[in-house]
Subunit: 187 residues, 2 copies
């Protein structure tokens, strides 16, 4: 199971997770204990862990057009150097784990992720984090398109509502990604 | 001249510029005064400036295969947080200028550069920095491939030898990039 396998934890930053943050995903906070379990399993196995995070420049110049107004109105989010940009405390990367910055939905778009995974000989990706319709899904679709075997830990990923989560899990399962809950995954 | 035009200054970091650094480019230091002149002209014109820099992770996991041994033998270079990774003092970005990180030769490979330039409405790129056969050339070739008009400030870019510089300028000119010296550019 663990050889050639890496974990991607997506966007578990304070601005996306903590209640009251401008871009909080409602379901994200309750996934933290389950993500922690999955993360600990990878740490025990000494398998590669990628903490994939979003960053935007303070002036909003690199924010998607569709949320640029919102970014400016709210004073911005996931700006490097702010607390909101940091990974939630209990999931902080350990030395030897990778923090990888993306600017868009997919962890593969305009990032070094694919060539780092290839260098490590990774063929299987276990994905958790937030949120289902955007970054989790886009990353998994690109992973499958690039030839990786995908595993989604369904209750360690989140959306604004359970309905959105379920609709996305269905679509993700339909492209061949193994979808399992944390307890099943850890067994 | 200045509307729709951005400046790219490539890899003018201490580890590539200062004599004695493990990956110093011999010709780089003497270009600093000319790059400064070009940079000041863009600042006067309030035209966008991108400081394109290289970064490698401390463990070397994202270094090109061909220089990974060298990276480890020398103790690494352009690692974030080190002085060597910083842009040389006189060229430090001002607020409002962009620092953009790349992991490979081209400023366009796996970076947000193209979509930031499109957002800004940029159609013409003025390029200087180091070094000719690798990052300067790869960035200009990709710029042309993507449809940008290219301008190379020939004596504000550098190589290990003048012969390497000249051979590259010839090839770059042959794909339609305007190649001019600093004094001509500033006129």
């Amino acid at each position: 199971m663990w050889s050639h396998t890496a974990l991607l934890i997506i966007d578990m930053q304070n601005d996306f997770v903590l209640p009251g943050a401008p871009v909080c995903v409602d379901g994200a906070l309750e996934t933290v204990p389950r993500i922690t379990k999955v993360l600990n399993r990878f740490r025990q196995a000494k398998a590669p862990v990628f903490h994939v995070v979003r960053e935007y420049r303070e002036d909003g110049s690199d924010v998607e057009a569709n949320r640029q107004d919102f970014f400016r109105k709210t004073g911005g989010f996931v700006v490097p150097g702010t607390t909101g940009c940091e990974i939630v405390a209990v999931l902080k990367p350990l030395p030897g784990e990778y923090r990888l910055v993306k600017n868009r939905y997919s962890g593969f778009m305009n990032t070094e992720l694919d060539f780092m995974l290839r260098r490590l000989g990774i063929t299987r990706l276990v994905v958790c984090g937030t949120q289902y319709p955007n970054c989790v899904r886009a990353t998994l679709f690109d992973a499958v398109a690039l030839g990786y075997e995908g595993v989604l830990v369904t209750d360690a990923a989140s959306a604004q509502t359970p309905e959105i989560a379920q609709a996305n899990i269905l679509d993700i399962q339909n492209i061949g990604v193994t979808c399992v809950e944390t307890d099943v995954f850890l067994r």
